[in-house]
Symmetry: C2
Subunit: 291 residues, 2 copies
């Protein structure tokens, strides 16, 4: 196996542990662990938290699979069916409190028998309350993580993210973006970039959780969050390539749909009260410079 791939795999496996430890410490509830094997080769470790003290639903899922790719996968990768190996770490956390944003991270490495190897991934934030200092903090950490490895790369990956997490029919983003990259050549620099992104996850998110976890919120705040969670579902089920690909290739449904929050509302013609914090928040679901 390619050394770059195995280094990444080891890194992601360890990162899963580190991140789960931190999340368990702040939440006070343990993750459930589900080890699974893939018939065709490989497997993974699904870590799930449900009804914690802070997190209503969350998953930190590591997988490393290999074998012969299906026609479907080959088609999506614009190549011919061949042996492949893929490892990844996927995180999604839906807190109860609308003061704490939902966060999503994905890091993956894909290696083809015929020599090609690449990285993909990103982190993005979906807040429900206009706490601008948190948004700035989040983007600042991501910027440093990217630019410390590849000069000016944050700008590109931020733009990718703004474009990817866009709910076209609503003309708005799922959240306030972050970074997103794909098909990054499998070389040492990009491995460092992937690690830098993985390493910054806790710094980007935990200070926000720490700061907001005991803040009071109103029923109106909760309602806005439940409606925005509906938009999150709309994005994931209509546009998210990973979700649709997973479902259509008979992946593990529960692991894939861990991204959907427990409680969701679809309210006809919902409009936040003018001049409310929620109506202010609506403006931030558009691409913006946060730093």
């Amino acid at each position: 196996m390619d050394k770059l791939f195995s280094t990444t795999e080891k890194y992601l496996r360890e990162l899963q542990g580190t991140i789960c430890n931190s999340l368990e410490e702040i939440d006070g509830k343990q993750f459930l662990t589900d080890n699974w094997k893939r018939k065709e080769g490989g497997g993974g470790v699904t870590k799930v938290i449900v009804n914690g003290n802070i997190f209503e639903k969350g998953g930190v899922n590591f997988s490393s699979v290999h074998g012969m790719m299906s026609e479907d996968v080959a088609k999506q990768l614009h190549t011919s069916p061949q042996n492949f190996a893929a490892c990844g770490l996927s995180i999604i956390l839906h807190p109860f409190s609308p003061r704490i944003p939902t966060i999503h991270m994905n890091l993956r490495c894909f290696s083809l028998e015929k020599g090609k190897i690449w990285f993909g991934g990103g982190i993005d934030l979906t807040p429900y309350y206009p706490l601008l200092e948190d948004f700035k903090h989040f983007h600042k950490i991501l910027k440093d993580a990217c630019n410390s490895v590849v000069e000016n790369s944050y700008k590109t990956y931020k733009k990718n993210c703004d474009e990817y997490f866009y709910i076209k029919h609503r003309h708005e983003m799922r959240g306030i973006g972050g970074i997103f990259f794909d098909y990054l050549d499998g070389n040492e620099i990009n491995l460092r970039l992937a690690k830098s992104v993985g390493d910054c996850f806790l710094n980007s998110y935990m200070p926000i959780v720490e700061k907001r976890k005991d803040e009071k919120y109103s029923p109106g705040d909760k309602k806005f969050q439940l409606v925005r969670r509906g938009r999150y579902v709309e994005f994931n089920l209509i546009y998210d390539r990973g979700t649709l690909f997973g479902l259509k290739t008979e992946g593990n449904i529960e692991s894939i749909l861990i991204s959907l929050p427990t409680e969701v509302n679809y309210i006809y013609n919902y409009l936040p009260r003018p001049n409310s914090p929620h109506s202010v928040m609506m403006k931030y679901y558009q691409p913006a410079n946060w730093i």
Copy 2:
């Protein structure tokens, strides 16, 4: 304008009124009315009920639009862009009580400048509790409505429906089916069929609402309903051609997504308790002969 089309349009417009009157009578709450015009030609009347006594969310939407079709529409219809006229009545009702099923009906007529005209539509039921006599009643009414116009047609349209409202990644149906047809030649017989289906809507559903509306239910019944509503959303956002087409062609989002119930739950690894009514109900989300 084609006489068949204008007859259908008039029929659907009147049917909207008849159905809304019956629903208002049983619910006790009035529908909100939203008249809208389409810039390119035509318009519609959206009737919405929110937080009624029986219905948590529902829409009875009539539309009649015309003009030059877009490239997208032409492509979907396997034809070249040309003038068209389309009228339709769309109904979706999500009751609060898990003892009352969600119901959906759609009837539409499409007419092309170059001469072709056809009908499409159907009715399907999504129950949340195994009340088999209700399922039988529903299918019996549909069967009579179809077969009284075209011998043996129920069998075909029921099969279409079982195939269409299938959640492929779950290997289960959205509900217990009903009937579904499309591209039915615009002739007098099929107009009679469409009318027969429209006319049977109230008979297929109202006796169930009447019988179940005061029945008590448990928190477990409600939870099962909220989870199944999640499946309803999965189907509508991933597979439903009308929903996706509407969203991608910049239709009125609120009217299109009136099909999504207000309160929805996505529970990780949810499994109904063995031998519970809900676990029994799960078996019925597969194609079956109800009569």
